[in-house]
Homo-oligomer: 428 residues x 2
């Protein structure tokens, strides 16, 4: 057995506790596999007194993560604080400037500051590893950076936010409204402190932005991503989808073509029988398409203490073994700035409208779609007690530009009573 790899852990929440527990419990195996003794020397968290059900007596304590990041007895700084800015970002920079390698689960920070951090890491001859930042325990970062390195990646798609999938699954199974399940999820602690990160599709977007960068050799570009959450999905939408053989999933999708980089995170209708259509609860599924490998699907727990700790350990063992890989697979200076672009593929759309219950209203909608060059595959108006008529329309394949023209005309008419709900149908 060689030397020690000394680590400092900043943040002792669910993930931090999982990492400490895993290192304590599986020590022998981990040391045998890494060829080094991986030893926690020091930890940092907000509250030293809190009972975490863990023996922390052997570790030095720092109140300030920045101090932890400077300690001479730390080789690897494990940032599990969270938040895109503030002390997480600051302490990671401190660690790099003090020539510590960094492991982090912080997708928000990396999605916003990935390029800057990758450049700083290279300048300081350090590594940043972040398997735990994307899809919990599933080895997506390593698979993309290493296993598929010989491929030209053509597409990434997946269910990358377990909370949204949990909400959609429970709405369907228990016939509950979005609001009811949302409140339940909040009580169960499934939601981020700012729930918009989850249900607004932002968290999935952060993850997708990181994967896109590795896959295409482009700079992380979260700002130009199309992002839409699941807040407006109703039980009715889920039931309509089911009726047509689909389920609603929050998908992250990216492609890199001659038109540029297409990145979107949005609820989609996916075939019920496809692998994506069958993902239940908090499970994640990430699909990579490469020119030689074809299609690879990786599935597993997208969150939780154990799975996320497993990914942190993967990075720790990698560093212990001496593997040193640039943050996004190639040198930060060689990452290209990609032109953002919209999807050029024609697809069908599911539309839900709430219309005035007056003669001629449906004709007006049909006309708006027809004028934009969109033909209707099916249309259904529900029987209703009020003067507001819910209408579901599924279009034939069309492009988003035409749809936006039609939607504008519908919005500007006086018959539409609320912002139309539009869901893309992904024939995966």
């Amino acid at each position: 057995m060689g030397k020690e790899l000394k680590i400092g852990i900043a943040g002792l929440g669910t993930v931090g506790q999982g990492v400490v527990r895993m290192l304590q419990q599986n020590e022998t195996g981990i040391d045998a596999r890494s060829g080094k003794i991986i030893r926690i020397t020091s930890v940092s968290a907000q509250n030293r007194e809190k009972d975490r059900g863990l023996d922390l007596t052997g570790y030095n304590w720092e109140d300030d993560p920045n101090e932890l990041a400077k300690r001479p007895d730390v080789d690897v700084f494990v940032e599990l604080i969270g938040g895109s800015e503030g002390v997480a970002l600051e302490s990671v920079k401190t660690a790099l400037r003090n020539h510590k390698d960094v492991i982090t689960a912080n997708k928000a920070m990396l999605a916003h500051h990935g390029q800057e951090l990758a450049e700083l890491a290279e300048e300081c001859k350090c590594c940043i590893r972040y398997e735990a930042a994307v899809a919990g325990g599933i080895p997506v970062v390593k698979s993309l950076t290493e296993s598929l390195a010989g491929n030209r990646i053509t597409k990434i798609l997946g269910v990358m936010n377990g909370t949204c999938n949990y909400i959609l699954t429970r709405m369907e199974r228990d016939k509950l409204t979005y609001q009811e399940v949302f409140e339940d999820a909040q009580k169960l602690g499934y939601l981020e402190a700012d729930p918009t990160l989850d249900v607004g599709g932002i968290d999935a977007g952060h993850k997708l932005a990181l994967l896109s960068s590795i896959a295409y050799g482009t700079r992380v570009d979260f700002d130009n991503m199309e992002i839409e959450g699941i807040e407006r999905i109703s039980i009715g939408d889920i039931e309509q989808a089911k009726d047509m053989g689909f389920r609603i999933k929050l998908l992250g999708i990216s492609k890199f073509t001659e038109n540029g980089l297409e990145q979107r995170t949005q609820p989609c209708l996916v075939p019920e029988k496809s692998p994506l259509g069958q993902i239940e609860e908090a499970t994640n599924l990430v699909v990579f398409e490469g020119d030689f490998v074809g299609t690879i699907c990786l599935q597993g727990p997208g969150a939780g203490s154990g799975p996320t700790a497993s990914s942190v350990l993967s990075d720790l063992v990698e560093l212990a073994r001496g593997t040193r890989i640039p943050m996004f697979g190639i040198s930060a200076n060689n990452l290209k700035k990609a032109k953002p672009c919209k999807s050029a593929v024609e697809v069908s759309y599911y539309l839900r409208l709430l219309l005035k219950d007056e003669p001629g209203v449906l004709a007006q909608i049909a006309l708006a779609l027809g004028n934009a060059g969109i033909s209707i595959d099916r249309m259904r108006q529900y029987s209703h007690a009020t003067s507001e008529a819910p209408v579901i329309i599924v279009t034939h394949k069309t492009n988003r530009t035409k749809l936006d023209i039609a939607l504008d005309q519908i919005r500007n008419s006086d018959v539409s009573l609320e912002e139309p709900v539009t869901i893309r149908i992904e024939e995966i």
Copy 2:
């Protein structure tokens, strides 16, 4: 960009051609990701004149792989010859003794000589990598060796032979006999030169033996594996299974418990709606269970030129980046010799018997099972024109020892007209 990594490829069949094509086609991306120029310097194959649709003019040619393995302009010897013994094994040893790293797709060789080769590699301070040997393009070796390195792995299972799955899928879909699809598969070139390797479950067994070794830190033990092929599966079995909500898949399963190392490759009934039950055609699916990560499923193409080349490239890029990992994750000398053991879990079994059509025959079978302490969940006798009565029995949960006692009694009776077909029901 750093230095060159010079490679020699022995064997220019489907996989070898794929590797050459991939290196030629994706050169820029591969070099950027590996931080080195990966350059083929020399190749070797049986027939120099054969048109492979590839430009090989820039490479040195060796008729003898052993000579290729000694060349000073080869850093990495890529063995794509195949066969567990002979020139493949010999040239790999030559390469190691000449201090070349080795990449191979040869599961048969590694399953039989893994320990010896791992020891030789360490003695010569060389690496052997073999992502392409297991599950084609799916990153199973890397995931297990690196991504899950912090876990205690508790179970591996999967569909790891695309040919068997192709045969079973087509029997079901096209209502063809095993023999008909087998002949078709042979015409299409889907079968190994010795088809028993595929349909006899041996190839899947080779792969499972390698994964078990990495997962449990044990010496490769192919010889003690229970292996059964798909040769005796009939359309009737497939239809019966379907009727009960199951499909028949050739599974590789291994577990490491206090009882020892359980390894089996055999046709099983798996729930139709489970991920394993839905694997079609030549797709592979490998499932890992770890104490912290939970369940991870990796799915993709299990064979073919492109996917397998993708895995060879994964290993090449890894070596180019300077990552050096022991063959089975830990030092060869630390691999434990595991005690082989049988499954201790009680499961239900599907039995197909061919019985004499005489009064009292069914009673005799029921008695044999009852005497062994096995109760029957369902039993069905088919209407038949001949004097041979096909009977299907599904048992309640029992253990293999009891079943073997009952089967012995049935075999020794004069009412059973052929060796009973026994298929384990895996409630995955």
